[in-house]
Symmetry: C2
């Protein structure tokens, strides 16, 4: 029956017939724990340790006990949650969104991102995607029959946008740009200057831009987090996808939201039930509580900062290793190209440091000499530090064996 | 920006610029209650009244209080739940599914159905869909660029499959059949004979069959519920989509599951994160409890039976109205063609009986002279009876005004 599938789908393997491991997929946490292996590869804060905020627990427990949470909410999402989100959009994103016309709740931003792109992509449409980038961005375009046009982000520019690299790749079929801001895996917070250049390019060439802001907070060192849709002329051509999974720490809740102007949203509302379906009823109640009182995210931010500094301190200065100081969130993007490929190092670290990290090649061509470390994993910072030290020591040993003495 | 969308998407309106009302969408329950209107139009048992089984509440409250439910589960679903489902598949569906290779949990069966079809459909592929049928079946094919080939189900055959009607519509582009069994809106439980004929047709013509068993229980009057994938030669070409939303009453949980043979599942596993994303973590724990102890569904079944008989008693014999006795679940499919179109009657009942039901035209061409009533709504059977009586009286009055005296 596989021969009856589209070409795009035929190449996706789920691991039933191979040893392929997808980024972020196919690990069983209990079997890893038995082997004493730490998983620093899932972008899920404090995974796998309990870390639901108490007031969110309370709100959900109440809703569940009342017994009505077994029913559907409106397919576009709980009205109160949409109203609460519209306030947040005004305060944090400088966006004036009508909760009844511009916001749709989705069961996570993975399906949200897919759905946001879907109406626009026909066979052969070209979609520009910064490389490295979240793997689903590439996969989604392929599934829809579009053509991925990777645009390299370069370490020497601190992974900011170089608009010439976009202009060089423009064709008459270019239809869309998909941007993750801040970027996963590089943690880059795109500067106002980067985004203004991108906006001008999008407007001049009449392009749609999908922006994934799953990692929009926290950003570090006083950086400005600019929402592209708030720039002049961009509201009408930008669809922004947000999530409660990362900075709010609610990955398992599966609550995300899409923000777009009325005409695009009208189509989304009209096809929401068919493609994504309604979002979990009690999760949305938990999300309301989380938005209403988001003090706890400050503690998360402080912990993420400590963890960032831990990574920089432990891995900084190791021969053959270069860590760009993370600009946001809880990931690190580490250049290990002098020591080996991302695949090789990932494998090496699993065996020698008992830590699983992500191989950079999952995030695009540009990522081949990199690994991604999720220092936001594990609630216990000592345990995390221990895992990072094991990584550091294993890399020092490798550099030593290879006779590498500087970066 | 709408001009940049695919043709299929451009026609879907969400109601922001029109008065279009989609089946099952865009009603606010609180505003209806203020107007004294009962909603018998959402396929959600006992909606909107509290009806989560106590032991399911207990399991979820425990999981949430433990605090770890904020984390992702494995994208293909909680392992324990998959194991529990494999037992159910053996006991109830006569299917031998490996929980590690043949089952995938999805956040509801709406996205599950979409996802199940997606890898197979390219532009121009023809998909046979019984008419009337669940509206998403048509919409999904259109969104994917396929061609919908409706195959009429006829009241005179009790909506069973007449394989000649499929054979007449076969072309070299026919790729797939999408079957809802039992059917929504007609409640038809397809007989072994219907399904054997369909299986033979699918095998002879090398077709994929997607079967939606959201309504697989309860079925009434000792009917046999046959799972197509269990018939000889069908496992390899059938993808079955199940849900906990209907017979198990857990709509708001968003837990459904796809069952397929290894090769198809390998592709699903490989693209799951990108298209559907993981399923809610605590809902899956609630679903395990529901599967472990499903005694409560017997009470639901008894209530559905009483409700069915209520509909037949109240609407049976009204001039110009014909109710086929529902074969399963909690819906009724009522022929009102002598009194007016489904659109007209739906409107008329909203104004004159203060009840919202679904217009049959949403379910396909064949449905134009019908309405769908969800007698499974409302926990209080007296309130339901009252609503049904208002429908009955309003229809009697209409028949009277029109001078119609028999069916
Ligand atoms: C950049 C980015 N976007 C979106 C997602 C999906 O998050 P969710 O579906 O939990 O909202 C992830 C998850 O890793 C991510 O890294
Ligand atoms: C026939 C049928 N299939 C699937 C669904 C979707 O159910 P869910 O997404 O809640 O699993 C519905 C909901 O009304 C339905 O009627």
């Amino acid at each position: 029956m596989k021969t009856k599938m589209t070409e795009a789908f035929r190449k996706y393997e789920g691991g039933l017939f191979s040893e392929v491991t997808k980024a972020d997929v196919s690990v069983s946490i209990s079997s890893l724990e038995k082997e004493g292996i730490d998983l620093l590869a899932w972008a899920d804060p404090f995974y796998p340790d309990p870390s639901t905020p108490p007031h969110v627990i309370e709100a959900m427990v109440k809703a569940i006990k009342e017994g009505g949470a077994n029913h559907y909410t409106h397919p576009i999402g709980n009205e109160e949650l949409r109203i609460r989100i519209s306030k947040k959009l005004k305060e944090y994103n400088n966006i004036d969104a009508n909760p009844h016309r511009n916001i749709m709740i989705t069961p996570g931003s993975d399906s949200g991102l897919y759905f946001a792109m879907l109406p626009f992509i026909s066979s052969g449409d070209e979609v520009m995607i910064p490389d490295p980038s979240y793997p689903n961005n590439f996969q989604n375009v392929e599934i829809m029959g579009g053509k991925v046009v990777p645009v390299p982000l370069k370490e020497e520019y601190h992974y900011q946008i170089n608009i010439n690299d976009f202009e060089d790749r423009l064709t008459s079929r270019t239809k869309m740009i998909v941007l993750t801001n801040p970027n996963n895996p590089t943690t880059t917070v795109f500067t106002r200057r980067s985004l203004e250049a991108l906006a001008q390019f999008a407007i001049e060439n009449d392009l749609i831009v999908i922006v994934d802001q799953a990692f929009e907070f926290p950003v570090f060192d006083g950086r400005e987090m600019v929402t592209l849709a708030s720039l002049e002329g961009m509201w009408e051509r930008t669809v922004t996808v947000f999530s409660t999974s990362k900075g709010m720490g609610l990955s398992g809740f599966r609550v995300a939201y899409i923000v777009a102007e009325d005409h695009i949203m009208d189509t989304y509302y009209g096809s929401a039930v068919s493609v994504v379906g309604a979002t979990n009823t009690f999760s949305q109640i938990g999300a309301i509580a989380a938005f209403d009182n988001d003090e706890y995210t400050k503690e998360m931010e402080a912990s993420f900062l400590r963890r960032r500094d831990m990574v920089c301190k432990i891995l900084g200065g190791i021969p053959g290793v270069h860590v760009e100081k993370p600009e946001s969130g809880f990931l690190s993007w580490v250049n290990i190209s002098k020591l080996g490929s991302g695949e090789f190092i990932t494998d090496y670290l699993k065996r020698n440091a008992k830590v699983i990290v992500n191989s950079g090649g999952h995030y695009g061509e540009q990522g081949k000499g990199y690994i991604r470390i999720v220092q936001g994993a594990l609630a216990d910072e000592e345990r995390l530090e221990n895992a990072l030290r094991r990584i550091g020591n294993a890399l020092i040993e490798l550099a030593d064996n290879k006779g590498i003495t500087n970066f």
